[in-house]
Assembly symmetry: D4
Homo-oligomer: 222 residues x 8
């Protein structure tokens, strides 16, 4: 096959989504070939009026995207690219993202960046797991300023229950695949969060930082 | 044992919670004995300044509660009692609760009543599953007025994905245990919702109408 | 069959166990017929030098046992009988049993009574789940006196992680089947506890109050 | 071992199957060594009257097969080889294959090619997931021409329920392993499809494009 | 509440479905109250032009339906009611339903009756499990007359693989919850069928006789 | 329906099995109606040359069978009936059945009786779980006389590994549903046995005493 | 650490096992380091009176073993080494090993070689899955000569049920990890086999060719 | 990004933990980048008064740590580093660590080293699985000297039940991921241990040698 497939052979870009739903389009890169992602990036070049996020982009994906959209912003930790790269001026309420441990950082940052590109002001609190309660209690003031709190945690996933008990804002629980053995790649944390004894907690998919950030932006919308 | 245990022997009522978190206290009746629930109801009599919800109350629980708090309001379908029985004057945004099928009604009504007792105006849309798309599409106007939408569904749990794709409000997906066989008591619907291909969806526990309604009230808070 | 089976046809009583391991014998009643339990009780009558516990005894089991051993002590909540009924004089360290919610009471009491019959002094702290952190923080002094702490919790099972982070004593995490939906009869709490981010936590089977109490007594042995 | 095993040592080719069941033989390559697949290809050379499909062929498998059967047709995306390479003249009804997302393309193409090699005319519709309902609704005319529709979807697997509600043809639901976290490698989509609230849906194994295409060809047989 | 809810409060009857999809409406009774089912039956009385099936109807459901629709036909084994009760004149191909064991009869009969009410001629073959292969081999002639075969099996679920290897018609595999222990209520049979080594097999939900019969009727449509 | 279905409507009795496989026919009663079991019993009356076992027979099943076959032998604990009731004269090697605890007795007795009716001499050893190793070590002489050993155990299922390490005979591991919580109705014991670190162990389904006894009889055949 | 650990630091060789149980010792190589396996091989050199099998040996393991025991026999497909390399003179009954598909060959050969090294005569039948019943029916004569039959199958795992229904010998079902998707690495086949509707089937762990062969040798012992 | 993040951007070191809980701080390296671990090591250099353990350290992690803390002690088998490297003078009771097989060595050594760095005297017993009971019985004297016993086992996980039945000390059961197939990466062993029929057993996460050693040190504290 000498010619690559045209983008219409594998993707039906939903450029009307920003108009319809009020939020940017996102391209989930995992499971797409580098060629497909590049083709999508090329097709988007004509549409700078829509901010597009590329999520779960590997180094190869990122390189191919930046070949087509050289000024796209790439955050290596979050594996996220945004084009056009400018953050919108924040509106609505504050989104606070909390990560239980250092290893939850990539997912937490994906949530934070997504919320920021969807137009919210954001804060990140790192490494405040329940094994040392004094750490989260020291941040109560900031937590209570939030319109919504995203809490990322792996292993026992206990932090969202504790945070939700301390504030009146809704909590988006974000289980991560951090852990081993009976953590089952995040299932243990997911179940903990679904069974939270504190009301006000809902859950997104394991490692779904994009989804948590998107939802938080919607909740904190003006 | 001639005397019943005092309430302090089995419950530490958190009457400060309304002050601390801004929302009423709730007593989860399932797993508590009728005597324990009655004891708690009696202890609350002196605190009419706090609205209390009794959730998952069986007929026996309800009878015992109404013996202690005769004017408590009881909704049989939702298995919910509220005392004092008056609904607060609504504030904040509109909460729309959507149920995919007739069998999802009890859980959906628990969500609706909870949101109403937490101070929101609410609407309920019944029996609009994805097997007949025209039914949900006919309600688009109401859906787009909502500040937040709770979508209850069992079996394939596909409705939240469809609804979220049509609106800009956040969606609280509420899996129900309706179904049989590989529905696994709601696990299939729960997984569908966690994997929603539409951003803007988060999930609560299976049949957790109370939690969904509570969260919706927080999201739609003024 | 005119005659009941002799006890030797279905049970090989391990009367040497107290001598060998230093702790009383226990008869797990669930799954045994009333006739079998009665037969075992009758056979034990000749051995008052060994304290025997009958665990998970239904009302029918209890009645049959007390017919053979009239002074056996029966705790309805814990479904536990002890014969001879006298508690030994306590020795060793203090065992503190903590229950996250009111519904965890039966399992927690089984743990407490077991530890007491194995010779420890015990304390019980009820209804101090993580949704209201101030409740457990208010009991820190007692928790820090313990040689070992048993923490019973259902639903999200988060309490053992929080407790273990506050004390230097080992924590025996005791998951209970309290909850619904994705609590999966205690599996969610079990997984939370196995993945505790606080070191110093180990776990016993769901609703295994007897096992938790036995282990706690061994840990706090003189 | 100087000599390779003869093909009869590891495979009992079912050359009578085409006669018996009316459909070509297929060799599932995954789990077979390159030597074994080459041996089978060599043995088939004497049987050009039977069309053979090699499924799940890696690049190494393909190279070895084409060494023995140089004119075998290889589709890299679908990982499928056919020999002899000519498509039969189509008969029977139309098979439409629908893929929810770009990442479902390999599996969808395997289904389409299989149906085509079994003698049906086929159409492929790409990237029409339920997050943007307008995309699938725009293809209703083609969907309603089909004698059978194969619907491939990962993640929430909701598309088959929606499609089946719009047409009278049977739907073969084809779950794919696209997704992450609680997608569990396609289990979430599989369960969604098994619990479809629309009648007229049946399900094949995860990523089983070959099976879906084969079944569709049988359903659409003249 | 003095008055019952009107039917529109809990159900949105899809009377247009027969026109839209060409097949009768069905009411899934499990999970609906007797009052709700009666209300639906009453609402249908004005629509004898549409055949309606009531599936999974308990004795109480059936009694309530027949009070509203006295001539509704009730099959106790299949727990199915049809109204109007007349079977349509058969058209299209033959649907053969095969049951591996005696205990699979209720589910198999539900499949057979559904296909018959959807307008197909049907045959039922009982108790031909793979433990005695001669039994199924003795029915080969009838099997080979079928346009589609539904194969119901519990326990090891092996029969569909064997049947599919003997015929050219598509096979709808219908796992049943017959079995115990590691049968896991039909999961073992479901998995066996999803992994069938014979092409031409697809699977419906456990015990979903209605769905299997509906699909078979669609496949065998004229 | 005035008349009951003839037996041929729901069962295809395999009277040739004894001739073909050399072992009696068995009727699995669970999941069959009392009428069906009675019908089968009546049909067997004309075939006293074949020994038939009725397994998992409830009290109602048993009563109905004994109405048709009054001299059928019924063992209440094992829920097994045999007709004609005479045990065959033993041949082949000795089958020893071992039960870890008192609660495993019903399943162990089903295994023992099955092996006896299939023509083997049998011995039963009760209540020798690994918590008190001296009990099983005291029976080593009998264990080493066996041609095959069936070991029934619930909970941790550890006994087969220990027994297999002590003898040269093959061990049939028979997991039982005895236990609670993470015993998962016998899954824990099943997994333990499948992963036995002692070679010489194979496993049958949970609570499948009939299957274990049948297999043991085959292994110990002359 | 300049010196390697002595073998006694990590292994307690059970050289008495052959005497005690009558069968050779086996070293399971997976999970052991190359150094550890080499150390064990060196320690065995002084014990040629005991046949030792090294199972699941990688190429690196094999090389290290043959450095210490140069005449050890290595079967690459089965990943098995034997030392001393001579097969014992066969005694007892015939062991027939059946493999459903070509991909099951490695596990089947491991079973066959193990039985042979334990002193049995063996036969191997390849690629006779149930999708083409004529293949297994063509081998009935050989199957009926066997004292025991090992049946290896992946995917639907249906072959053992079919084989057991045709013979009077016991069947050792050997699930393999061949398959994909809902095969779950052999779990589907394992469950099928545990739920076999044919009596006379027991099951070993997934891919446990060694265990199946060992057990078969015990069953067929003189 | 020219500059690395400061350690405070991703970690909130809990240096007060030793004071608060009486035990050293531990850094779990898996899931942290080499840069993050190096940053933490650098930050600790100023705190030699606190012993820090780095667990699950890969070779790359270890190299980076030793660049910052050159005298840190590294145990390759246990993947553990300690700094400062000196073992404390032992106090309290004896901790005995038992490993069922050679492959359990890394996890067992992690447990032993952790207990030693927390100030206990320790002993290690290797390769004493239940397949050869004489091996563990030969070590009874040492086992009975222990204040607490850690028992590591994979596969069937049966050893803790056997050990607990022989001693009066508490047993910490440590499941390992050793095994294959239905061992499910340690789940089988985990379940066995949770269901131990011997009282006195509690369980930590799969492969959690650090947690087991930490807990053992707490139990054996003076």
């Amino acid at each position: 096959m000498a010619e690559p497939d045209p983008v219409t052979a594998y993707a039906d870009l939903d450029l009307g989504r920003a108009a319809r739903r009020g939020y940017p389009e996102a391209i989930y890169c995992e499971g797409k070939s580098v060629e497909q992602v590049a083709g999508i990036a090329a097709a988007l070049r004509a549409h700078p009026e829509v901010t597009t996020l590329f999520t779960r982009a590997s180094a190869e994906h990122a390189q191919a995207i930046q070949l087509e959209l050289p000024d796209a912003a790439y955050d290596v930790t979050a594996r996220l690219l945004a084009w056009p790269p400018q953050l919108p001026k924040p509106s609505g309420g504050l989104v606070v993202v909390v990560a239980a441990g250092t290893s939850d950082q990539p997912v937490a940052r994906e949530a934070q960046l997504t919320a920021a590109y969807l137009g919210r002001s954001t804060e990140l609190i790192m490494d405040v797991g329940v094994a040392g309660l004094h750490r989260i209690l020291a941040r109560l003031d900031l937590l209570r300023e939030a319109r919504v709190i995203v809490v990322a945690a792996g292993m026992d996933g206990a932090l969202p229950s504790v945070v939700a008990g301390l504030v009146s804002a809704p909590v988006v629980a974000l289980p991560t695949s951090v852990g081993y053995g009976a953590a089952f790649g995040g299932i243990a944390a997911l179940l903990t969060m679904l069974n939270s004894c504190s009301p006000g907690v809902s859950v997104v998919n394991i490692d779904n930082g994009y989804g948590a950030g998107h939802l938080a932006a919607q909740i904190a919308a003006p």
